[in-house]
Amino acid sequence: MKLLDRKQMAWRAAQDIADGMYVNLGLGMPMTAANYTPRDRDVFYQTENGILGLGPSATTETKDLDLVAPGGTFVTLREGAALFTSVDAFAMMRGGHLDLTLLGGYQVSASGDLANWDTVGSDRAPLIGGAMDLAVGAKQVWVIMDHTTRDGEPRLVKICTYPLTATGTVNRVYTNMAVVDVTAEGFVAREIIDGMSVADLQAATGAPIVATSNCRVLTAPTIA
């Protein structure tokens, strides 16, 4: 039984980003999903700093010092892109216009609460950015995170113990063990990695989790 690595998790989430979607990807692992979206899909990526239609990362030749993604990387624009202000970018999020946001997370509860903006006991100042707006505003909120902490504590829980980002808005979680929907009845596994039983998954999960009758094997290619 081999857990997915981070690239594989990003790849798996990317397969569900549908043609024509308007999407905001959180910093870190979520952003890498853009590399794995099937080529035949036409997706518009949005950013907090006022870009709709992010293109590939810039090269030395195409680099524009003022065209950066929120993470600080130099980017390009795709055909049909639009530029605007952060006021407009967040109106777009809060107003419910984005089809999807894919965010990193620390914990997701069985009722769809998300904790992803701070860790208790950190010696660092808090960081919040646009995560709350995205988690509240996007039509679909997907979270990508390891199924457990390094110490084996479940990250899919009954009630989040970390500070909340938003309540009741997560629709789906991509982990290194499974693809899990958050439904009115709680966690439902749609896919589980090869060799892991539902009982194994339940043991790694902090709230009841069931598998759908058509639950499939979660597979992802090895990515260099």
């Binding site: 055909e79 049909g80 639009a82 530029l83 967040f90 777009m92 216009h97 505003g137």
Partner: protein, 226 residues
């Protein structure tokens, strides 16, 4: 697959527009007024509509024809009076056949913007102490009184812009933008007529007045003036 919001004609563009809907119409005077789409709406003929437009129609305008066709049950606007003589809207209003909600123009604009921006309510100093403000929630901030206003959403928005592309990006010309960009964000279905419609993303990113995310159907239609 490629995002393509172009539709073949106005009939296809207005598919799904039904009785009882809230229809937003951009335009301030004739600038930004989607006259060809209004013609198509009249032809389609849904009834009991709530019309949301800043000026509810001079005699002889296409908006007046919506009233003549008895399609309008309610108007939300900031000017309900034509310049010359009683309008058909006024006649139906006086006869109790059309309901009227008069909104100060800036509150009208801001309520629509709020709907698109996920803001259900906000406070404004405008209308406090006037008949328009009567009965509204009042709250004091920093020693001044404000009234609470709610967002204003549409089921459909009909817009006119100068240029568009297949992604739904719009570019406005002159004073054409007025209420269109806000309405596009506030309606479930946004339909746009443009002078020039291009297959590729031809509008420089910095000059996009309405990003395509807010547009559902776009088509090139003649610029019909009154």
């Amino acid at each position: 697959m490629a995002v393509d919001k172009r539709v073949k004609d106005a009939t296809a563009a207005l598919e799904g527009v039904a009785d009882g809907m809230r229809v937003m119409v951009s335009g301030f005077g004739d600038a930004g007024m989607p006259n060809a789409l209004i013609d198509a709406l009249i032809e389609r003929g849904p009834k009991d509509l709530t019309l949301i437009v800043t000026g509810a129609g001079m005699n002889g305008s296409r908006l007046a024809m919506l009233f003549e066709a008895k399609m309008i049950a309610k108007v939300i606007c900031s000017a309900a009076r034509g310049r010359d003589g009683l309008t058909e809207m006024e006649r139906q209003w006086k006869a109790g056949k059309v309901e009227l909600e008069l909104v100060p123009q800036g509150t009208f604009a801001e309520r629509i913007r709020a709907a698109g921006a996920g803001i259900p309510a906000f406070f404004t100093p405008v209308s406090y102490g006037t008949p328009i403000g009567a009965g509204k929630d009042v709250r004091e901030f920093e020693g001044r009184k404000y009234v609470m206003e709610h967002w204003l959403k549409g089921d459909v928005a009909l817009l006119r812009a100068e240029r568009g592309d297949r992604f739904g990006n719009l570019q406005y010309h002159g004073a054409q933008a007025n209420f269109g960009p806000a309405m596009a964000t506030a309606a479930t279905l946004t339909v746009v007529e443009v002078k020039d419609l291009l297959a590729e993303g031809a509008i420089p990113p910095q000059q996009v007045g309405t990003p395509g995310i807010y547009v559902n159907h776009i088509l090139a239609l003649p610029d019909l003036r009154r």
